[in-house]
């Protein structure tokens, strides 16, 4: 599977990647909440000149049920050009797809027929637990020397969660990544500043804290994760932990600057238990130490308790619930999902500490139920959740499901399934919904849709070692 010339989808720098050709296809993780149907990777046509644009054109069912597919990723990406471990002749060809509930990891080959990926390997939960001591694989990143997989749970116990490494040619589980984790216990997302030998990780909860839904006692008891961890990527040791304060519950998505000379990044925090607001923070390093600063606060929106799900009725308000963020490859625009209020916000973060809101689109929402312009009669459930930005920064894709058990709590009458696309003005900012692109409902064959990956790479898949 090695090539004679570098994989054309690899770029040495973010600047080069921003000039990449537009994606033709999007891969979407789709799962059956009832665990009666197999989960699947749905393939959506993203070529505007195609007759099937905006529709599901391919489908790969997985062999088991109840996996609950989550944040999948590519086996290899632009980090293969990094000088410490260069291997540019591997191919971006396999999707590494974790089942968050089953702890299985699937490897799908997209090469022969990109519209119908073929399952080539299945890593059973026992192998992940036996070799790495982890369960509930969550997020995949293509590292320079292997495939890194964050996991929420321990192999035989609740925790600690952490990162497992897979061999990037055989896909065997090599083991746990950490040499010394200090007091890190909760895990969620991770990413890195490759050229600074820094890895950053965030926190959600252990399996029992999430799998049956949000536990109100744990939330009000401030037990969900509220810290950020900074690691030595080369030595694999925990160097520094920053606590945001326990009113900030669930430090989830991490989006470091793509420019490898920069040492800052963005963090989304789901909810403050003091006022139900959600927030975005920036980490940065000065004088060797990392500091974390809140830069965006999104307040809760008052609502009639009669319109709210039982869990929110005592509060009389809708929390924004920032469940995902994504940073354009040129580090200019940050997209912020407010899954509770059903809003996608766009901020110009050219000056990371002083973001300027440049766009907002409403879709769904616990109370708002905003419709898509193409189907104005249809009240949408869920909200913009996972966000994916194209490499050139001109297109943004969103899907609407968060996590099975949590969907049910916040959208008890059903979260549905929809995917939307927004067109962006990369110079002035601002974004508008594409009326031609709205696969939803039966298009996804009864599954919910969680996350999108774009063919050839996207803003949250690749990391670069050259400026």
């Amino acid at each position: 599977m090695t090539r004679w010339t570098p994989d054309p989808t690899f770029y040495p720098s973010a600047r080069d990647a921003a000039g990449a050709p537009a994606e033709q296809l999007a891969y979407v993780a789709a799962f059956d909440r009832s665990a009666e149907l197999p989960d699947a990777i749905a393939v959506v046509d993203t070529d505007p000149s195609s007759a099937s644009y905006g529709t599901v054109v391919g489908w790969t069912d997985l062999p088991h049920t109840g996996d609950e597919l989550h944040h999948f990723g590519w086996n290899a990406c632009s980090s293969a050009l990094c000088p410490t471990a260069p291997h540019p002749h591997v191919e971006r060809r396999y999707l590494i797809v974790p089942g968050l509930r089953s702890s299985r990891i699937y490897v799908l080959d997209t090469k022969a027929d990109p519209r119908n990926p073929v399952l080539v390997k299945e890593i059973p939960a026992e192998e992940l637990a036996g070799k790495a001591g982890y369960s509930r694989p969550h997020t995949i990143h293509c590292g320079p020397d292997g495939i890194y997989v964050s996991a929420l749970g321990g192999g035989s116990a609740e925790g600690p969660g952490g990162i497992a490494v897979l061999d990037h040619t055989t896909f065997e589980v090599r083991g746990a990544w950490e040499n010394d984790r200090g007091d890190q216990y909760l895990a969620y997302d991770f990413w890195w500043h490759l050229t600074r030998d820094v890895l950053v990780s965030s926190e959600w909860g252990t399996p029992s804290m999430i799998e049956d839904g949000l536990v109100p006692e744990l939330l009000l008891g401030r037990k969900y994760g509220h810290r950020l961890h900074f690691w030595d990527l080369a030595k694999r040791t925990l160097v520094q932990t920053v606590d945001l304060g326990d009113q900030y519950q669930m430090t989830l998505e991490l989006r470091p600057a793509h420019d490898p000379r920069k040492e800052y990044g963005f963090l989304g925090v789901v909810v403050s238990v003091e006022d139900l607001s959600a927030s975005v923070w920036v980490w940065q390093r000065s004088g060797g130490e990392f500091t974390v600063t809140k830069i965006i606060d999104v307040p809760a929106e008052p609502a009639d308790p009669a319109d709210l799900p039982p869990a929110l009725q005592p509060f009389g308000a809708v929390p924004p619930l920032i469940t995902d963020i994504d940073l354009s490859v040129d580090d200019r625009f940050l997209y912020v999902s407010c899954w509770g209020t059903g809003e996608l916000k766009q901020f110009d973060v050219s000056d990371p500490l002083h973001p300027v809101e440049t766009g907002s689109v409403r879709l769904g929402g616990i109370v708002g139920r905003a419709a898509h312009p193409s189907f104005p009669q249809e009240r949408l459930a869920g909200g913009p959740q996972m966000v994916e930005v194209s490499r050139d920064g001109r297109r943004v894709y969103v899907t609407n499901s968060l996590y099975g058990a949590w969907d049910d709590q916040f959208y008890p009458d059903g979260v549905g399934a929809w995917m939307a696309k927004l067109d962006v003005d990369p110079e002035a900012g601002g974004m508008t919904l594409d009326p031609r692109f709205f696969p939803h409902g039966d298009d996804f064959r009864g599954r919910r849709v969680h996350q999108t990956r774009l063919q050839g790479g996207d803003a949250s898949s690749d990391s670069y070692c050259f400026p």
Partner: protein
């Protein structure tokens, strides 16, 4: 050492220097991160030093053990190892990684030493080194013969000859590596990595297999 042998050693050095994985890419990256040609230039000597250490070990061992019997044995066993190692490199894709991106000069030399050793850089010189025994001037190897001064063969002093070989090789490697790094940093740009990075790993492995076969052929 004959002029022909020195030329072969230098050519292999140039080949090693050309391989981005042997260090010039790292030098370019460091230069670009710091926006400094000086940083780039200061990265090259430690990388060359690590390469020299790796190659010199093989060269010194081979030269010091030279005698008719030992020379043949070293050559044939070495040739077989080389063919095997080359085939393994050709067929295996297991990745090597030793350290991160922020390295001191000593760590950079260490990285280069391991990188060169893991790629069998020294072994690749075997056909030149192991077939130079002065006691075997006849037959197939005649045109490569008469390297070490008479009387020194098989003695520790002959190891110096091996070190000379390693030195010549490394100077060529250093020059080509520095030229590649500077060229890419100053003029060509990073786009060359996407367009022109031919899969040297496969070529490298093929050269190794060929060198092994040649060693055995010259000795037997």
């Amino acid at each position: 050492m004959t002029a022909g042998q020195l030329a072969v050693l230098a050519a292999l050095g140039a080949f090693h220097g050309l391989n981005p994985a042997m260090g010039w890419l790292f030098a370019v990256a460091r230069g670009m991160q710091e926006r400094s040609r000086t940083v780039l230039l200061w990265s090259v000597p430690p990388i060359a030093a690590g390469h020299l250490a790796s190659v010199a070990i093989v060269a010194a061992v081979v030269s010091a053990t030279e005698s008719v019997v030992a020379g043949n044995l070293v050559a044939i066993v070495g040739g077989a190892v080389l063919v095997g190692f080359g085939l393994w490199r050709l067929l295996s894709a297991r990745h090597f990684r030793w350290a991160g991106m922020r390295l001191s000069a000593a760590q950079l030399a260490g990285w280069s030493f391991l990188m060169s050793s893991a790629h069998g850089a020294g072994l690749m010189l075997l056909p030149v080194l192991a077939t130079t025994t002065p006691a075997a001037p006849a037959g197939h190897a005649a045109h490569l013969a008469a390297a070490a001064p008479a009387g020194l063969a098989g003695t520790p002093a002959a190891a110096l000859d091996g070190l000379l070989a390693a030195g010549v090789h490394t100077v060529a490697m250093f020059a080509v590596m520095a030229a590649c790094a500077l060229l890419v940093y100053e003029f060509v740009g990073l786009g060359v990595l996407r367009r022109a990075w031919f899969n040297v790993d496969k070529l490298w492995a093929a050269v190794m297999v060929a060198a092994g076969a040649l060693t055995i052929a010259l000795t037997a």
